[in-house]
Amino acid sequence: MKPDRPLVHVIDDDEAVRDSISMLLETEHIEHAAYASAIDFLNVYNDTMCGCLVLDIRMPGMTGLELQETLNQRNTSLPIIFITGHGDIPMAVEAMRRGALDFLRKPFGEDDLLQRVKEALTRAVENRATLEAQTQIHEHFALLSPRETEVFERVASGQANKFIAIELGISERTVEIHRSQVMKKMGARSLAQLVRMKIDLDRAATG
């Protein structure tokens, strides 16, 4: 999978707003793409996309919030900066609750926008890294044998080898062997790292 360069996706039905934001981003040499509607964006969207969204909430057809919902369902981690000329509080709260990076009321200062964009891009990169890491964990986790998985669960939960051996009815030595095998397969360099992987996996399982 080829990691794309991070891109700022400007989505606004108002052409002037779209154009002016584009021009501003250009002056900062931030790569960007502009879309007149949410549908236009979805047409080019793919999971590997990296970057952030500057998204107008009120648009004919699909609104910004609907787009956010769609992307969330697709487990996309593209950070979204909402811009709106009509900022009512409930709407902003809803957007934030759904994981929006920020909510800017038009008109906004260019610094605010750029700062958020940059932040978002950073976040996007991070996100992408995190995403990649987690993907790795899952991949690694998939490699574990059932016994290794049992051992992983218990190690990550902080159980001592002795208790694990008793619980599983195997020897302590065997536990140690599985444990090292797990550490190896999961790519964890420390127990702490393993624990975090376990948390990520649990989160992924529940979220």
Partner: protein, 903 residues
């Protein structure tokens, strides 16, 4: 009986003679003639003719007298008794023949009637001839008879005119007396001459003529003429003797002697008789005067016996009644059949004891019809009726005139009687002479009762007492108070009540008599009509005077003719002051031209009534807004004359309207603000968009500059876009501001589609904010409307807002689309509709949807639609709604395009 008939004729001649003359004159005439005849001829040829003539001339009594005279002479001179008997027979026979001739020859009779002298000679000649034939030997007799016959006939013809002139048998006497008289004498002389020349013996005709001349002299009783005639006879005799060679007096000295002796005797007798007549005349109305009167009287006089036979008639009676009647009955047979029975009855009535007969009837033949008036009275002697005496006169002329007058009178009377007006004529002293039917009706007096009374009975007592004085004054001074003028006054009825009349009196002078004709008309109705009119006028004037509206009248171009109280208080001038002012003077300068234009139109008859708004000036200088309703009245020629103007003071009304309008404007404004308030999100969005863009472009520019490597094209682009966005923002603000601005409504010519496009820029963002789609379905080529654009936009905005709101609810599941459509209706209006897919209007709100403070919104004011409706009402349209068959509702309104031509 022939003799009786000739008797009646003989009245003509005998009537002029006295009674004494009738007895002795025939004898005095006959005796010398007989003796001459005996002495000359030795026979009785002459006395026979004389006897016949006497019979004709003097009737039976004359004949008897002459006959006795002749008998005495005969018996004295005749040589035997047989001759005397022969004489008697011959005389009687000749008289009878003569009478028959006259009776049975109408021509002869008529001739004789006109010329009694001819009658005389005819009788004489005929009688003499017969006498001669009867008594002489055949040859001698024929010669002598023919000789005598011719002689007498010629004498009669020639002397006729003379005798007509001398004898008053006709009413018309010839005026040229002397020539005719001379001619007559000359004629006689010629006859004598002829006789002499023809006869073997001159003495016979000569002496016969001489005797006749003597007789005529006796008859005419003129000695001078007698002498003249004797001289002529002598001359004739001498001439005859000279021509024939026979001596005039040869063989006849005795006859000549007798003749000459007799002449003075006859003269003496004639004179004695004349004397007698004159004496008689001088003592009393002489009988000859009576006869003359009878003869000349233009009235027919007749006397009847107790048996009805006619005893006496005068010539006029014969003319009128005809000659055939010898009794009253006989006469009646000749009168007009239609009248016969009536007259017969009247006559019988008279005979049965009535005291008078006075009838008018028609007599004469058809074609010569005559109207006769006959009066007959009984004649009494010792208290017993012994006969009847009567008169008959020809009244044809009078009757026809009378009839004509009666007809004309009847017509006049009919006119007068049937006249609607009472017509009363009075004479110069005020006595009523005629009184027509209408007068009877009006006053209650029957004509018979009124006629003869003084006209003052028709007058109220005050006037009545003075009326005689009025007439006297008029007659004295000729100064008319009523005559020819006519006036209204009171009259009195028979029952004493009075009534108002109009009296016209004319004076008529007929045959020197002044009469006055009064024509009276009952005017009580007119008067009550007048009173009614007066009351109406009073009511009207009180009404006008106290009307709450100003009412004035004026003639074209003139000052006010009348003004009422309301107008006076409206304008602040008194009635008197206004009478010197006109409408234009009280009108503000700006409005005068319009006033003049309309007034001129009215004056020329182009318009009959008109209304206009004027600003007038109160006395204080304050303007008064009025509306003036003018109506034109016309004079009797139909020319516009007077203007009646009702002036309504609109100032208070206008103030109220103004206040109402301001209030409405405020309310509308508040509603507008409220609507805008609801739209702030959309509006803010709409403004924030360009502001955002502006900000971005500006910063882009700044950063380009900061970067130190300015790209002029990009910078320029940024700035231009920035500028455009600022304008865009400004436009939004403008739009909002227009709606927010508090301004009076002002109508302009607008195109509804443009208005919709304009307001949509504001509404769209609101719609967008609410995820509502706006669809336009606008008709092209819509007529412009006269409208206040802000208010119409307000209505549109309101409807769009409502539509958006109706589709925002959770229960709305049919999408959020607003369709705004326009289309023309019937060419003179357009309709704008705003349809949504919302919940529609709930049933319980439908009724009061447009009433204020009705709302379905949680925080709505409930003013929007109410104000929208009043705005559309003010534009002459109507705002309505309907629930759509599928989803939502449609609100729509019409705007008239009719006014668009004005600008």
């Amino acid at each position: 009986m022939a003799i009786a008939s000739s008797l009646s004729i003989s009245h003509d001649l005998s009537s002029f003679g006295s009674r004494a003359m009738r007895w002795w004159l025939p004898a005095a005439f006959a005796m010398p003639a007989t003796s001459i005849g005996w002495s000359l001829f030795g026979d009785l040829r002459l006395e026979v003719g004389v006897a016949a003539a006497v019979l004709v001339l003097f009737g039976w009594r004359g004949f008897l007298s002459a006959f006795i005279g002749i008998m005495i002479v005969d018996f004295a001179l005749a040589p035997g008794v047989e001759l005397a008997v022969t004489l008697l027979l011959a005389t009687t026979l000749s008289a009878a023949v003569c009478g028959l001739l006259l009776r049975h020859s109408p021509a002869l009779r008529g001739f004789a009637r006109r010329a009694p002298a001819i009658q005389f000679f005819v009788a004489t000649g005929s009688g003499s001839a017969i006498g001669a034939i009867a008594t002489l030997p055949a040859s001698d007799a024929i010669v002598a008879a023919l000789n005598l016959w011719l002689c007498l006939w010629a004498s009669a013809l020639l002397s006729g005119p003379l005798l007509i002139e001398l004898l008053p048998t006709t009413t018309q006497r010839p005026t040229r007396r002397v020539p005719i008289t001379l001619l007559g004498f000359f004629g006689l002389a010629m006859v004598a001459t002829i006789n002499v020349s023809l006869a073997d013996s001159a003495r016979i005709p000569l002496l016969a003529v001489a005797a006749m001349v003597a007789t005529m002299g006796l008859v005419i009783a003129s000695p001078k003429r007698l002498l003249l005639s004797l001289v002529l006879v002598l001359i004739a005799a001498v001439l005859a003797a000279a021509t024939t060679g026979v001596p005039a007096f040869t063989g006849a000295p005795i006859a000549s002697l007798v003749t000459l002796t007799l002449v003075p005797l006859l003269l003496a007798i004639g004179q004695a008789d004349r004397q007698l007549i004159q004496n008689h005349d001088s003592q009393a109305a002489g009988e000859s005067t009576f006869d003359a009167v009878m003869r000349f009287l233009p009235v027919g006089i007749f006397r009847l016996g107790i048996d009805g036979r006619i005893r006496y008639t005068n010539p006029m009676f014969q003319t009128l009644a005809g000659l055939n009647a010898n009794s009253f009955r006989g006469w009646l047979e000749t009168i007009n059949a239609e009248d016969r029975e009536r007259i017969g009855k009247a006559w019988e009535h008279l005979r049965e004891g009535a005291t008078a007969f006075d009838e008018i009837f028609r007599g004469g033949e058809p074609g010569t019809l005559r109207w006769l008036s006959a009066r007959v009275s009984p004649e009494y002697e010792h208290g017993a009726v012994v006969g009847y005496i009567g008169t008959v006169s020809d009244i044809t002329t009078q009757h026809l005139a009378e009839e004509a007058r009666a007809r004309s009178d009847a017509q006049s009377r009919a006119v007068v009687d049937n006249a609607v007006d009472a017509i009363v004529t009075i004479d110069a002293v005020g006595t009523i002479a005629s009184f027509n039917r209408a007068a009877h009706r009006m006053f209650g007096y029957p004509p018979a009762e009124a006629i003869g009374q003084n006209v003052s009975i028709l007058m109220p007592e005050l006037h009545g007492a003075r009326h005689d004085a009025y007439i006297s004054r008029f007659l004295a001074t000729g100064e008319a108070r009523i005559i020819g003028i006519g006036r209204e006054l009171d009259a009195r009825r028979k029952d004493g009540s009075t009534l108002p009349i109009h009296l016209a009196v004319s004076e008529v002078v007929v045959e020197g008599h002044r009469t006055f004709t009064g024509i009276m008309r009952d005017i009580s109705l007119e008067r009550s009509d007048k009173e009614e009119i007066r009351r109406q006028n009073e009511r009207l004037s009180v009404t006008v005077r106290n009307a709450p509206m100003g009412i004035v009248t004026y003639r074209f171009g003139a000052t006010f003719a009348s003004t009422n109280r309301a107008f006076e208080s409206m304008i602040g001038y008194s009635n008197l002051e206004l009478s010197k002012l006109d409408l234009a003077a009280l009108t503000q300068m700006d409005d005068r031209r319009e006033l003049k234009r309309l007034t001129d139109d009215a004056r020329s008859g182009r318009i009959e009534q008109y209304s206009l708004r004027l600003r007038m000036l109160h006395r204080s200088g304050t303007p008064i807004h009025v509306v003036v309703h003018n109506a034109i009245t016309h004079d009797q020629h139909g020319v516009p004359d007077l203007i009646i103007a009702q002036i309504e003071d609109l100032t208070a009304q206008m103030h109220a309207q103004e206040a109402e309008r301001i209030h409405q404007d405020r309310l509308t404004h508040v509603a507008r603000l409220s609507t805008l308030g609801e739209m702030t999100a959309g509006i803010a969005h709409e403004i924030n968009q360009p502001l955002t863009a502006i900000s971005m472009y500006a910063q882009s520019g700044v950063r380009m500059l900061d970067a130190g490597i300015p790209k002029p094209e990009r910078l320029r682009e940024a700035l231009e876009k920035l500028s455009a966005q600022s304008l865009r923002a400004g436009a939004v603000i403008d739009r909002v501001q227009r709606l927010v601005r508090k301004q009076e409504s002002s109508f302009e010519t607008v195109h509804i589609n443009e208005l919709i496009g304009d307001i949509l820029r504001l509404a769209e963002s609101d719609a967008r904010v609410n995820d509502t789609q706006v669809v336009l379905d606008l008709a092209g080529d819509l007529a412009a409307v006269r409208a206040d654009p802000i208010q119409i936009q307000q209505v549109l905005l309101n409807l769009i807002r409502n539509a958006i709101d109706s589709m925002r609810g959770i229960e709305c599941r049919h999408g959020s689309v607003i369709t705004i459509s326009t289309h023309a209706i019937d060419g003179d209006a357009i309709e704008v509709a705003v349809a949504d897919l919302g919940t529609g209007v709930p049933e319980d709100v439908v009724e009061k949807l447009f009433t204020p403070f009705t709302t379905t919104k949680a925080n709505g004011m409930g003013m929007g639609l109410s104000i929208c409706r009043s705005i559309i009402d003010a534009h002459g349209g109507q705002l309505s709604f309907r629930n759509n068959p599928d989803h939502g509702a449609t609100f729509y309104f019409q705007l008239p395009t009719g006014h668009s031509n004005e600008t």
